[in-house]
Amino acid sequence: MNRQSKILILLEQSKDYELLSALFERNYEIIKPEKFPDETLNYDLIILDGITHNRYKNVLVDEKARVNPLFLPVLILTGKKDVDIAASFLWKTVDEMIVLPVNKTELHARVEMLLRTRKQSIELDNAHEKLHKQSSEQLNIALKSANIGLWDWNLETDKVYYSPEWKKQIGYKDDEISNELTEWSDRVHPEDIERCQKTIHEFLKTPWPDYNLEFRFRHKNGNYLWIYTQASLINNSQGEPVQMIGSHVDITEWKQLREELRMLNSELEQKVKQRTAQLVVIIKQLEAFTYSVSHDLKSPLRGIDGYSKLLFDLYGNSLNDEARHFISTIRSSTKQMNQLIVDLLQYSRLELADVQREPVEIKSVVDSFLQTQEDEINSHHFLVVINFPETTLMADSTGIQIVLRNLIENAIKFSKSVPNPEINFGLEEKHESWILSVKDNGVGFDMKYSQRIFEIFQRLHRAEEYPGTGIGLAMVSKAVQRMNGKAWAESQPGHGATFYIEIPKSH
C-alpha cells in the first residue's frame, strides 16, 4: 500500500484545523469534509477534539462498524482538564489521546503509529480475502469435479439457493432455475415426493445426525436421475432451525451398476444351483456305475475262471504242459483283473463316502490285519514288532483300515524275499496329530519316486516281480487326505522303506 494516507480532521476551531493541516500536509493527504458522515469519503485516520467528539460519537461507532474488520483509528485532542473524560472514550470511540498543548514530535509519532496499525489491518484483510477467495475456488472446483450440487434452503424466506452444479446435473444453465422450493419439489418423481416430504418434515421436527435421502429427480430431457442427498440444519441463537444445507449427488449410474451386480449375483447363484444339481446327477450316475462295476464286470470274470478251472479239471489229462500253462495264465490274469476291480471300486467309494470321525483302537486294527496275513508272515519267518501300546485315535475308521491293509500288504510283498524280514510299527503323538509309521527292511525304492508312488496306477516294479494293481498307495494317500492328514515315505534301494501317515487330532 504505497498511497498516501488520508487524514480526516474534524476540529471545532478552524484555526486549529489550519495549524494541524499545515503540520501534516507534507506527509499526508488532508481531508476537510463539507459534511460528516459522508459515505463517499475515504480516510485512514480521524482527528477530533472534545466538542466534535461529543457531536459525532454515535457516528464514529457506526463508521467503525461499517469498515469492520478494518481498523479505523480515531485520535482525540484534549485539554488537560478534560483528560479524564477523553480517557473514558478510549477503545470505544477513540483509540489515542494527545493532551494539549501539542508536542509536535509526539503528535507525529502517535499519528504514524496509528496509521501503521491501520495499514497492517488493511494488509491482513487483503490477505484474508485472498485466502478466502482461493479456498472457496478450491471448494467449487472440488464440488464441480465430484459432480456435487449444493442447495441452501432459507427456512424463514422459503427461498433456496441452488448451486450451478446442482442445476447442471439436471441439464439446466445457472439462470434457468429460480430460488423457489418448487424447483426441487416439482421435479421429484411423483412416487417419491410423499416419502421425501415426510422425511424432511420429521427431520425439521427432530433432527438426526446422518440425514440422507434417495429419490428420482427429473432431468430437463424428461428422464429421471437417481439423486442421493445429505443435509444438516443450521440453527439461530434461539436454537431454532433457520437454514437447511445439503448436497445432491447423481447416483443413477451407481444404482444401475448395483442392479447389474445384483442380477449377475442371482444369475451366478442360479448357475451354481444348476451345476450342483448336475453334480448330484453325476454322483448318482457314478454310484450306479460303481455298482454296475461290482456286479456286471465280475460276472464274466467268474465265467472265465470257472470254465478254465473246469477245462483243467475235466480235460487237463489230455492237454500238454503248454496248454495247461495257458489255462493257469488265464486264471491268474482273471484273479488280477478281479483285484483291480475290487481296488478300483474301493477307491471310487472312498471318493464318494463321507469322512467319519470315530474312536479307532489302532493296535487292534494292526493286529487284525496281521492275522489276515498270518500265512505269509509265518512262511517267510517275518519278525513283526509293534512299538506302541493300545491307543484310541479319533479318525475315519474305514480310512485307517484301508491305510493299514495296504501298508501291511506292501511291507510283506516287498520284504518277503530278503533274509530275516522285519516289519516295525510305530506311533508318535505330536501336539496336533498322530504319526503312524510302518517300516520294513525290504527292497526299498529310490527317493526320486517318493511322490510318484502315491499316484494311482504308478508302479515301480514289473508285475511278475511284485504283483499289484497300482492303486494301493493311491488309496492310502486318498484315505489320509480325507482326514486332512498326509502320507509320505522314506527309503533307500536295498535298505527297506518306511511309510508315514499323519492323522490330525481334529479334522
Partner: protein
C-alpha cells in the same frame, strides 16, 4: 424223513446263464442229491409260491440273486418273508453285489444268509459246500 428231505428241492433264482451253469456244476461237484429248481427272473421265482400253495414240495433253501430282470431279488425276498406260511424257508442271497446298503436291506427283510459270489471257482465250490452242509444236511434230522 431223510428220504423226503433229499427229495426236497433247492430253488436257485439266477438270470445269468454262466453263473447258473457254474453254480449247478459247483453243486454237482459236491455230489448233491437234492433236485435243483431254477427261476430265471423275479417273476418266475414268485410263480413258485403258487405251486407250493397247491402242494408242490417247498424248497429246503432258496438261493437268490439280487440283480434280476422284472422283479429284483430284494422284492422277491420281501414277498417270501412276508408270506404267512413260507416265511420260514431259509433264503440265502448269493450275489456279486457287496454293496453294504443291499446287505442292510436284505437283513432288514429277514434274509438268512448273504454270500458274495467269489470270482475264483475254487472258492465258489467252497461256498457251495458251505451252503450244502449248513442248509442241506444240517436241516435233515439226524
Amino acid at each position: 424223513m431223510e428220504a423226503i428231505n433229499s427229495f426236497q428241492p433247492i430253488l436257485l433264482v439266477e438270470d445269468n446263464p454262466v453263473d447258473l451253469d457254474l453254480t449247478l456244476r459247483a453243486f454237482s461237484s459236491r455230489k448233491l442229491t437234492n433236485p435243483i429248481e431254477i427261476a430265471r427272473d423275479g417273476e418266475e421265482a414268485l410263480a413258485y409260491i403258487e405251486k407250493w400253495e397247491k402242494g408242490d414240495p417247498r424248497p429246503v433253501v432258496i438261493l437268490l440273486d439280487l440283480k434280476l430282470p422284472k422283479i429284483n431279488g430284494l422284492e422277491v425276498l420281501e414277498v417270501i418273508k412276508k408270506h404267512p406260511e413260507f416265511k420260514t424257508i431259509p433264503v440265502v442271497i448269493l450275489t456279486t453285489s457287496s454293496e453294504t446298503s443291499d446287505m442292510k436291506t436284505a437283513y432288514q427283510l429277514g434274509v438268512n444268509s448273504y454270500i458274495v459270489k467269489p470270482v475264483d471257482f475254487d472258492k465258489f465250490i467252497e461256498v457251495a459246500t458251505h451252503i450244502e452242509l449248513y442248509w442241506g444236511v444240517l436241516n435233515k434230522p439226524l
